[in-house]
């Protein structure tokens, strides 16, 4: 079925290069020049993927990217469950991101936990004209009155805040003082800052540094006794329970997880993290900043890991264990051995149904590279991948550890490009987001959302891999895809946009 299987690498490379040249033809000259830098065919042995990244999206092309607010409120801060996150500005941003990311948590929502709620200052014209600081102060008072068990407040700035010159830092400081040093965090994540979600992650990380770490009393008594095996999970948002199916493995190997950043996380966990012996980092893109900071300031080493698929999980468990003593190293081996029969059974069941199938990915964060191993464990091949908001260090990691020779790479892909690539390459599966899902399904191409796990998950850890394998099988082998073509019509091959 897949073209990739029937061709040599040289042929694939030639085809992919031709394909890139072809899509660029649709653009005005200036745009074609700019987009050309973001598209490439990977050459093995190269230190990166040969694409430019973390550059402004081009107006009017239908980028898939979001904004800094999405990176801060939606990704980093939103899952911290015992704090109230105010979407500060007009009503929309908070509304569209309300409970949409499935950051699972345990708690009594509305009483001591607030993740799936939408707190907004609902800016009106008068707030734009006269400023919103007074309103913000009043909002904090009302929160204290109506939600007395909240453990802190963050102010997630929407676009107007930075444009009208509001001083949310001053409001936060004065209210924090008024409420006995309560943690109140102003975050300057206005949507127009930076080029994507990515700057929002960075700003959110910095806000934790400046308004949580730096405000802590260094002489405060620790809430628990330290152990030599304390680690923090950094960069797992517990989507569908990912952090839980990861935590269980770390604990089984003898480590003690003292904090989750930020899925099912709490303020106390953030505050405890500087005591960790090791920070284990899943989503490098969104939380490398705070990991580096903790390394510099507190001397905590950090270690990237990958909990997608048994090969990478075993590799990661051993890598993490290498930071500890033999007890933990043995623990890692014990965990790997314990789950081996489950992995063997999952692979025996699903690999024959998925062997040789090809996948094209376009996601954010770590997934465009991290999930490749999991597909390979199932005998599948990733033939194209790209990031919404990567930096060059992501493409370096991708090139050096993950993608195969000839893989087509697309950075900040446009709707037009992605559709055309998929149409020509005809992968057996596309993994991307909600905005892409139905485009490809209409074309008759099986699809899985790889941000939200298509409302399934967890996909992390051994328990998650069983679900991942089941889901990929159900996507690709669903009988419906054989029915997409109307049987009495002879030529119903996918056609491109109105543009063709």
């Amino acid at each position: 079925m897949s073209l990739a299987n029937t061709q040599s690498v040289a042929e694939i490379k030639a085809r992919n290069k031709e394909l890139i040249a072809e899509v660029l033809k649709v653009y005005p000259e200036k745009t074609a020049k700019r987009r050309a830098k973001h598209l490439n065919v990977h050459e093995s042995g190269k230190s990166d993927c040969g694409v430019k990244s973390n550059i402004k999206s081009i107006p009017g092309v239908m980028t898939i990217r979001g904004c800094a607010y999405a990176g801060s409120k939606g990704v980093v801060w939103g899952p911290i469950k015992d704090m109230i996150h105010i979407s500060h500005g007009p009503v929309g941003c908070g509304q569209y991101s309300w409970a949409a990311r499935r950051n699972y948590y345990i708690g009594t929502t509305g009483i001591d936990t607030f993740v799936t709620m939408q707190f907004t200052s609902d800016f009106q014209e008068k707030d734009i004209v006269f400023g919103g600081d007074k309103k913000l102060a009043k909002i904090m008072d009302e929160i204290q009155e109506l939600f007395p068990l909240n453990n802190g407040i963050t102010v997630q700035s929407e676009c107007p805040i930075g444009l009208i010159g509001d001083d949310i830092e001053a409001v936060s400081k004065s209210k924090s003082k008024e409420y006995d040093g309560k943690t109140i965090v102003p975050v300057r994540c206005e949507g127009f800052r930076g080029v994507s979600q990515s700057l929002g992650h960075h700003i959110a990380n910095d806000a934790i540094r400046d308004w949580v770490f730096d405000k802590m009393d260094p002489n405060a008594a620790p809430r628990f006794e330290q152990s030599p095996y304390d680690v923090a999970i950094i960069g797992d948002y517990n989507i569908g329970g990912d952090a839980w199916s990861s935590r269980i493995l770390l604990e089984e190997m003898g480590l003690r997880v003292i904090a989750q950043w930020s899925g099912d996380g709490s303020l106390a966990e953030l505050e405890a993290t500087p005591k960790a012996k090791l920070n284990v980092l899943h989503c490098y893109r969104s939380m490398n900043y705070i990991s580096r900071h903790m390394e510099e300031k507190f001397g905590i080493p950090w270690c990237e890991y990958n909990f997608f698929g048994p090969s990478k999980i075993a590799e990661s468990l051993r890598k993490i264990a290498a930071y500890f003593d033999d007890k933990i190293k043995e623990g890692a081996e014990r965990v790997i051995a314990k789950y081996q029969p489950l992995m063997d059974a999952v692979i025996a069941k699903y690999r024959p149904r998925l062997e040789g199938k090809t996948v094209m990915l376009y996601v954010g964060g770590l997934r465009p590279r991290h999930v490749i191993g999991a597909y390979e464990d199932l005998g599948m091949e990733v033939v194209g991948t790209g990031y919404e908001f990567a930096h060059n260090d992501d493409y370096q990691r991708t090139a050096q550890h993950y993608v195969k020779d000839g893989t087509i790479i697309y950075d900040d892909v446009t709707g037009y490009e992605f559709e055309k690539f998929v149409e020509k390459i005809q992968p057996d599966l596309v993994g991307s987001g909600i905005k892409e899902k139905y485009v490809f399904q209409k074309m008759g191409v099986p699809f899985r959302q790889m941000h939200s796990w298509d409302y399934s998950g967890p996909y992390h850890g051994y328990d998650g891999f069983a679900i991942f394998a089941r889901d990929m099988d159900m996507a690709i082998n669903a009988p419906i895809w054989k029915m997409a073509k109307t049987p009495w019509k002879t030529d119903s091959k996918p056609t491109l946009l109105a543009a063709e």
Binding site: M62, V91, G92, E142, L146, G162, L267, Y416, K442, I467
Partner: protein, 519 residues
């Protein structure tokens, strides 16, 4: 180990197992610095009291769980209703990612829309270059017949002038001079999504009728016998507009649906992605000027558009999202009056069937109390239907409803003996609703998907009617307008009532004497 290859456990089962439960309990106890459970329980109970409600209603600045979105969402909703039209949102790009996701989650369909991707430099210097480049790129890549420009709050705060920008972009050759680029300023800090819908609709007719931003002569109205139909911002647009077309065709009415997005949000899976499908043609949009009358199904979605149309010599009339027998009667009789076309026997029979269904079932609904929230017109339509079913719309709440709307709802209450104990809440949110459901309990709640949090916290069964509905599939394909639509709403209400009775009578040897097979 709970997980197995033979029986793969999903998240809703996996974490219930003892391994995970223990792990999560330890996490909480050791590391979360949890509140005393007794204190959590105390506050949870306190939040149900009239005392808490009073504090809650005294809120002046904080909004919690609002039932409204921002103008630009409605702008996109309206724009995709025109043939091969792409919405172009001038401002920050993240907004567009949100609108597209929001619509795709509701309709389970692609939602195409572009952004001018303004960033910090545009915040300082203005977004003119973004407009120039953006229009050129969109025009070349997606070959739309029309680009409908609206704004995000960012562009509005810095004061970008769409009219001037589009003019300049045309001069720079981004799109041909005669190419249709209607525009509307849609600041997110004014009104709600229904306001954005209104502004874009008005902007498009202004463009076609009033000389395309000064580039051509204004159209001369040459009256004809057609009627225009505007649905408004409507989560059931797919089912509703098709039902309206069926009704008009049955009546032999010559009509134009303005902003017909029923096809673009219901495209087939047949191997082809249709970025555009159906929609009001640009010619129809222009010729709508000549129509005899324009009907808006939702008064509060067309507060500016209808008077604008009216000033161009039409009769205009607005309904409030008519649902049920009386409201549909009124709608059809008005259509009949305007067009001179009699209401055919087939529709009379459909009416009779809806009356028949209500007669069969109303005993289960009569006297039941309902809380409703949603957009202002939907609330009026549903409240009216409940009253004719003999139910009480005890609590009616619209975050984006104003005092004028509240007066209209009150008048509706006053028109029925079942409205005596009912109360309307303009400008309130779902955290207010939470208090109301505790202090003035009702039997059922009607609202969108977010209502499930109220169902969980208060135990009030939720009937999902509204926008968005993310967690139930395909309801948007069913109409709620016309007698057939009334039938759908009736069945959804009844299904929940019967399910609730069954749930409450299901314990063997305790309550199952009422677990009846005939109801």
């Amino acid at each position: 180990m709970p997980q197995s290859a033979d029986n793969v456990l999903d998240h809703f089962e996996l974490f219930r197992g003892p391994e995970y439960q223990q792990m999560l309990a330890n996490k909480k106890k050791m590391f979360e610095n949890p509140r005393d459970p007794a204190e959590v329980e105390r506050v949870r109970e306190w939040a149900k009291t009239p005392e808490y409600k009073e504090l809650n209603f005294a809120r002046e600045a904080l909004t919690v769980n609002p039932a409204k979105a921002c103008q630009p969402l409605g702008a996109v909703f309206a724009a995709v209703g025109f043939e091969e039209t792409i919405p172009f949102v001038h401002g920050s790009q993240g907004c567009v990612a949100y609108y597209r996701s929001h619509f795709s989650r509701h309709f389970k369909e692609p939602s195409s829309c572009v952004s001018s991707s303004m960033t910090e430099d545009a915040a300082v210097f203005g977004g003119l270059n973004n407009m120039i480049d953006g229009l050129a790129n969109t025009y070349n890549m997606y070959k739309p017949k029309m680009i409908s420009v609206s704004t995000t709050c960012m562009a509005e705060v810095i004061g970008d002038d769409l009219n001037a920008f589009i003019k300049t972009a045309k001069e720079k050759g981004s799109v041909p001079a005669e190419y249709d680029v209607p525009f509307a300023h849609t600041p997110a800090f004014v009104g709600s999504h229904i306001t954005g819908y209104d502004n874009v609709m008005k902007g498009i007719f202004e463009h076609f009728w009033d000389g395309k931003a000064g580039t051509t002569a204004k159209l001369e109205r040459v009256p004809n016998e057609k009627i225009n139909f505007i649905g408004g911002f409507d989560g059931y647009t797919v089912g509703n507009l098709r039902e309206i077309k069926r009704i008009f065709n049955l009546m032999g009415v010559d009509y134009t649906i303005l902003a017909d997005n029923s096809d673009v949000w219901d495209t087939p899976t047949d191997g082809e992605f249709r970025m555009y499908d159906g929609g009001t043609t640009l010619e129809e949009a222009a010729n709508a000027l000549h129509a005899k009358a324009t009907i808006s199904m939702q008064e509060y979605c067309t507060e500016k558009t209808l008077p604008f149309i009216g000033n161009h010599g039409h009769e205009v009339l607005a309904f409030n999202h008519p649902v049920g027998v009386t409201a549909t009667d009124k709608f059809l009789m008005e259509v009949s009056r305007i067009t001179g076309k009699p209401i055919p026997e087939e529709l009379a029979k459909e009416r009779g069937r809806l009356v028949d269904a209500i007669a069969d079932s109303n005993a289960h609904i009569h006297g039941k109390k309902f809380a409703i929230y949603g957009d202002p017109d939907l609330c009026l339509g549903l409240a009216g239907f409940l009253l004719e079913l003999g139910a009480e719309p005890t609590t009616v709440l619209a975050t984006n409803g104003n005092q004028k709307w509240a007066d209209k709802v009150q008048a509706l209450f006053d028109s029925s003996p079942f409205g005596g104990n009912c109360k309307v809440y303009p400008g309130k949110d779902l955290w207010h609703m939470r208090s109301l459901l505790f202090t003035e309990p009702v039997d059922f709640l009607i609202g969108n998907t977010y209502g499930k949090y109220l169902e969980r916290d208060t135990g009030t069964p939720l009937i999902r009617i509204g926008f968005p509905v993310f967690d139930r599939h395909h309801h948007h394909r069913y109409p709620v307008w016309g007698y057939q639509g009334g039938m759908n709403v009736l069945v959804w209400i009844l299904d929940k009532i019967f399910d609730t009775i069954d749930q409450n009578t299901i314990v063997p040897a305790k309550t199952d004497y009422s677990y009846d097979i005939i109801r």
